[in-house]
């Protein structure tokens, strides 16, 4: 019912987990949280319609939503967690670092110094580095070439899609494969990718110049807020036990529903 349910192939992963047609996921009776955030589970300005269920990854999103009068939450864990439950094969060996520069999005832009970030990555990372760009930056020759010229392997997991079109339904599968072949995951902001990496055993780092959104984000820039919220998750090398604990909570790794219950929650029991 909401096109964001298809972003990154989330609906497809949930359909596969529930034994439904993963190529044509049934309509979900609400809106699924599409990324880790510090709000009510949804992006700024994204208000799921009342009367439908808000499917979130963790209870903290429900609490934040409750405060602003939102109800009808279901804490189901992240689609990533359901992907991990389906893709259990472990890598034989890991090497290097995969770095996710903080990225722009379809309706906004960021400003920051990629050159400074590249210098920091070279200074910190000992092994081979893969830089994963969001598709928008990947299609910007000046950004992409900056990382390629630095000697990094540059990849893109694909597009998340818009209004049910252009979605790379293998997006997260590709991300999972890449994370499992790297020893470390890093970024210049604490983002979803760090938690994804931690969930599959990557060491992690969050460092480097933080980039900023150009446009106004409702008067609230979460950059400093996140640093205060998770001070231990910022640094060149993050305490793996602390990261594992936060990751388990934020991705809802302990919240997984059975296929039968998830089908019921998503409105698929009769589909």
């Amino acid at each position: 019912m909401d096109s964001s349910n298809h972003w990154y192939g989330h609906a497809h992963i949930l359909a596969a987990y529930c034994g439904k047609d993963a190529a044509r996921p049934p309509r979900i009776n609400g809106v699924v949280q599409h990324g880790w955030n510090i709000l009510h589970g949804f992006g700024p300005g994204h208000e799921p319609p009342a009367g439908f269920i808000k499917y979130v990854w963790s209870d903290v999103a429900r609490r934040r939503g409750h405060l602003i009068g939102w109800r009808d939450y279901a804490v189901i864990g992240s689609p990533w967690a359901y992907l991990l439950a389906q893709e259990t094969e472990q890598p034989k060996e890991r090497s290097g670092t995969i770095f996710y520069p903080f990225h722009t999005w379809e309706q906004g832009s960021i400003e920051g110094d990629h050159g400074e970030l590249i210098a920091r990555i070279k200074e910190i990372e000992p092994g081979p580095v893969t830089v994963c760009l969001y598709w928008i930056e990947y299609d910007m020759p000046e950004v992409r070439s900056a990382y390629e010229d630095a000697g990094f392997r540059v990849i893109c997991h694909g597009q998340r899609g818009t209004y049910w079109k252009g979605t790379d339904t293998r997006f997260l599968y590709k991300q999972l494969a890449e994370l499992r072949r790297h020893k470390r995951v890093a970024s210049n902001r604490l983002t979803t990718a760090i938690f994804y990496g931690a969930s599959v055993g990557c060491e992690a780092g969050v460092y480097g110049p933080q980039m900023d959104f150009v446009e106004d984000r409702g008067g609230f820039d979460g950059k400093h807020y996140v640093q205060r919220l998770h001070p231990g998750l910022h640094g060149e090398s993050i305490d793996p036990d602390l990261l594992a604990e936060v990751t388990r909570s934020e991705l809802g790794l302990d919240q997984l529903l059975s296929p039968q219950e998830l089908s019921y929650e998503l409105g698929w029991s009769m589909a």
């Binding site: 319609p49 405060l67 400093h224 919220l229």
Partner: protein, 560 residues
Amino acid sequence: MSDHDLPGRVRLIGGEMPTWSDLESAWEPARSGAQLPILLAALAGRSRVLIAGPHEPDLIAAVAGAIDGELTCLVRSIPDARLLGETFDADAGDGRVRIVCGSLERFDDTGYDAVVALDDIVRLYSTEGPEPVFGTALADLRRLLTPDGLLVVMVNNELGVHRLTAEVQPEADESEPAWTRPADSDNSRPRGLADLAEQFGPGAAIWPVYPLPSAPVVAWGAAVGSVDRTEHAGLLAALSEPATRSLERARPTADVASLMLRVRWSGRLPEFAAGWLVVAGPGADRSPAPDDVVAWLATDQGEPFAVRLADGSPVLPDGSAVPAGWLLPDVLAQAVVAPDQAALRSAIRGYADWLATLSDVAPAPAGRVVLDAAGEHRVLALGGVGSTSVAKTADEQLLIAVADLVRRVERHGYRRTWPSHLTPAEAVAWVAAMRGTPVPDDVLRQVVAETGLDRPLDPRSGEPIAVEAAAERFEESNASRARWFETRLKAAETQLTTAWVEVEKARRAYRELARVDNARLRNRLKTAAKEAAPPGAKRIGRAVRTRLGRVKRLTRRLRG
């Protein structure tokens, strides 16, 4: 490091709530009341004090004025931190007050010689912190204290009169602050005096407060246990009355007065208190609960005052002895519900006769009159905390007492001594006539109008508020879903119109081709036309029709 434009005295420690305000929420913060003199006495001479949780600025200012050193306020809400910061910036820039904003488990500043939490512990942790657990919170507060530090905590009693009379119980509370599990499900929470003694130590002073933990009107002292509850039923009733009246305003459908009467009769004021103010710690003996205090009472007119014991007997604030006996409104109510018309007549006539002997009737409203076993009336001189109406004549004073009685009987549906077909105004006249002499009509009309008994009482549905609220949410949810489907229906109809235009174009193209007189060429052209045609126009049309049908069926079902 701050991403908020905050006053300089505010420090953010993480886990703050950026937009939420406890001070503005449906759950009121701690306010000054009967607990204030106890708190200020306990803090006197302390030099480093922490107030944790939401407290009204006036209460914080009172504490700041009472201590010698620095006061730190810990709140979880950024808007509240901003408000407090700006308040103290404006208040002559009191540099001794600083504000810390975040979740308690992140606060690592220790060495306080007093920690105050008058809002219980539930709002010490933010949405980003752990679920509030009493035992953990107590440990978190204690770790901030010096070894001889003092801990002052208001502990909510989940079996208190405020809960027993609440229309919305914690299990049904859907308000915004209620995002955690109900406090009662926390097994480490003290549920009675024995639990309090166990958690705070046997030396802790415990003050049961009424009617709300956030706004205590009366705080009962240890000496209340030494007051004979039959001999001094009138005193205990009078001390309870402001709290009862306050709770009745918040719980208009509850018979608070009767419940409070039973609590007093049973001698269980501590057990059914709305909360317990606990003063604990090795330093508690520096400012102990004076053993002679029966109760601290907050007033609308001035500072709280205490009723104490002297030589084993209660004395009033002016030093006079407390007259023994029952409070007159209780005597009248007992006669009505008996139902004992003779007893009611006797009480009305006795009060009227006594009023007639007074030169000034203003200090003798029924709520301040004690009636002893011999039928003697005496004024209980507790100051201006009683009835809100001030009478000038004996007729007026009697009619106010009767009007209060009738309102109580009508509001709670008591059985009664007067005919049930009487309106409240007629019932006032009926009861007042029991004094044996006519009551002037103009005074009767005036009192009836002033007490609101000339209007019908508010209608009450039989549906609990929480059930009504749940039904409203159900209806809103369905309406919202219907609106969403209507929007999708309109979009689908637009798509269908476009699809039919495309189908018609395709049909025309086929008709043109059908006229070609060469079968082979015709087939080749048809194939080419199919490839050039809009993608699957007929398929789009069928799909849109199918979805349209589903949407219509769903919309009908939701509306139905």
